[in-house]
């Protein structure tokens, strides 16, 4: 019986889809059978981030409406055969699917997969309700910005009201240089304000953009963000992984420049 995790944030553009792609791939690297569902009907993105956009024949709405079998719509990842994507429909809108249908779908998938990841659309309307309906657990993604945190707080409130069993926080796009200057909220501050369990901190990393351009998530790679996502995956599996020192690892060039600063 697999676990169903919804990745949500409230605010758009904080990295839900990137997080879903990286966590999904990371869990697959760790040997789990994973299926990712893009629930953002009308604005699908997860397929592009994963580089699978050219394989889509059927989508979530087709499955729900019985136009195809579930197996037909699942797209296997190029490198990890145990990683599947159920893409969303680009040409429909959110009310093409209702929460009961999502629950039925998720129940079917969890029979076979270890993890079902639901990439939630921004906002708190129908799409959010659909995504949250079948989930056991939520990853709330936020950035250290007032607007994102405020929305995250609202989401946490809604999830708690909906009796979500487990809610974890992912802080994305943290910039240590700005934190040091005092111009960005600290990790502790964000945790303090939202008061939910922190499962990972992902530093702002140019490599994310590069990875998205290439359609290849960077989890597990040598970049800081890639390591951070890998750690999140391990923590999802219940491993105790210490939070990494985001300042400690600097590029060669930065180290070189440091010599001159002193």
């Amino acid at each position: 019986m697999g676990e169903v995790i919804v990745i949500t944030s409230g605010k758009g553009g904080v990295g839900k889809t990137t997080t879903t792609a990286n966590v999904g791939m990371g869990l697959a690297m760790l040997g789990k059978k994973v299926v990712m569902i893009d629930t953002d009907i009308g604005l699908r993105n997860l397929d592009v981030v994963l580089g699978l956009e050219n394989r889509i024949v059927y989508n979530l709405v087709d499955v729900v409406e019985g136009k195809c079998r579930l197996k037909q719509a699942l797209i296997k990842h190029k490198k990890f055969p145990d990683l599947c994507l159920l893409p969303s429909a680009q040409t429909r809108d959110k009310d093409a699917v209702n929460p009961e249908q999502m629950v039925a779908l998720v129940e079917e998938l969890r029979e076979e997969y270890d993890y079902v990841l639901l990439d939630c659309p921004a906002g708190i309307e129908q799409g959010f309700k659909n995504a949250v309906a079948g989930a056991d657990r939520a990853l709330v993604v936020t950035t250290p910005e007032v607007s994102a945190i405020r929305d995250a707080d609202r989401i946490v409130g809604l999830l708690e009201a909906g009796e979500m069993k487990k809610i974890d926080l992912v802080i994305n796009r943290l910039r240590m240089d700005m934190v040091k200057r005092g111009d960005m909220l600290k990790v502790e501050d964000v945790c303090d304000i939202l008061s939910i369990h922190l499962i990972g901190v992902v530093p702002d990393d140019e490599q994310i953009v590069v990875a998205t351009n290439n359609g290849e998530p960077l989890v597990g790679g040598s970049s800081l963000a890639g390591q951070a996502y890998y750690n999140i995956c391990k923590r999802i599996l219940g491993e105790e992984v210490p939070f990494m020192d985001l300042e400690g690892k600097k590029g060669l060039m930065a180290k070189f420049l440091d010599l001159f600063k002193k």
């Binding site: 409406e65 019985g66 040409t91």
Partner: protein
């Protein structure tokens, strides 16, 4: 995959495309199985149904409806006459029906005891509900104005779908995420960067033509081809060469021996069509 029964559905109804050679009882069994499999997705949906591909007697239609309702939570509120069913028109009818009937749709079928839907006939007075290809969630803006005699002018953007019952010529681009679909041929006087589908009714002899062929996916009849996965461009040395601007290169896609081929548009190509 059974081809004997094909279920096409949308929000308002569904269409069963039935094999016309199979004996009726066998067909009925297949329908039962299919709805037992997939029926859970339509939880308590109220739908209209239409039949295609086989002529059925009134009695046969009713037994199919019974089979559907017994094996799934779907409630069939009416049977559509199939000829030329159009989604828009059907939706209108459904809305009108729901307005006039209020919440009595469920009542209507349960009150009948057998649970069967009534057949409402008469060419002008077909019933509510809809079926058909029904993918038109987002109509192309100004489709009416821009669409004339199989010519469409304008760009198709992500999420937009242009569906045509016959061959279509698009003057403009098909962007990634957009889809152009035709039962006949597709000619794009512009760039094809999205998905194109020719011969959507299953005709493998159709072609897709584009001035700039960079599709995400091509479908011709029953065949589907996806664009090749990009190779990692790690060789910086060669990058400059690759980036050289490609001249417009009109290409045509055809299906031959089970594969979709993309070829430059030459005179020889024309002879083969």
């Amino acid at each position: 995959m059974t081809k004997e029964v094909i279920i096409k559905s949308n929000k308002y109804g569904m269409e069963l495309i039935l094999d016309d050679k199979l004996p009726f009882p066998e067909l009925l069994d297949i329908i039962r199985d299919r709805f037992q499999e997939s029926g859970n997705f339509f939880k308590n949906a109220k739908m209209a149904v239409s039949f295609k591909g086989r002529s059925l007697t009134g009695e046969e239609e009713l037994s199919i409806v019974d089979a559907i309702m017994e094996n799934s939570p779907i409630q069939i509120v009416s049977i559509m006459d199939l000829a030329g069913v159009q989604e828009e028109r059907m939706k209108e009818r459904l809305d009108a029906f729901q307005e006039s009937q209020g919440g009595s749709v469920a009542q209507k079928s349960s009150a009948r005891g057998t649970g069967s839907a009534s057949r409402q006939s008469g060419a002008g007075q077909k019933t509510q509900g809809q079926s058909g290809s029904g993918r038109k969630a987002e109509a192309v803006p100004g489709q009416q104005a821009n669409f004339q005699n199989g010519f469409y002018k304008g760009n198709l953007r992500s999420g937009q779908v242009l569906e045509c019952p016959e061959s279509v010529t698009l003057i403009g681009d098909v962007n990634p995420g957009a889809r152009i679909e035709s039962a006949g041929n597709v000619v794009i006087l512009g760039a094809l960067k999205g998905t194109a589908c020719a011969g959507s009714g299953g005709d493998n002899s159709c072609f897709i033509f584009a001035l700039d062929m960079q599709p995400i996916q091509l479908q011709i009849g029953e065949y589907i081809a996806k664009s090749p996965d990009r190779e990692k461009e790690s060789r910086h040395l060669f990058k400059r060469e690759k980036a050289a601007p490609a001249a417009y290169n009109p290409q045509i896609a055809v299906a031959r021996r089970g594969t979709i081929y993309i070829e430059p548009m030459t005179k020889g190509c024309l002879d083969n069509l």
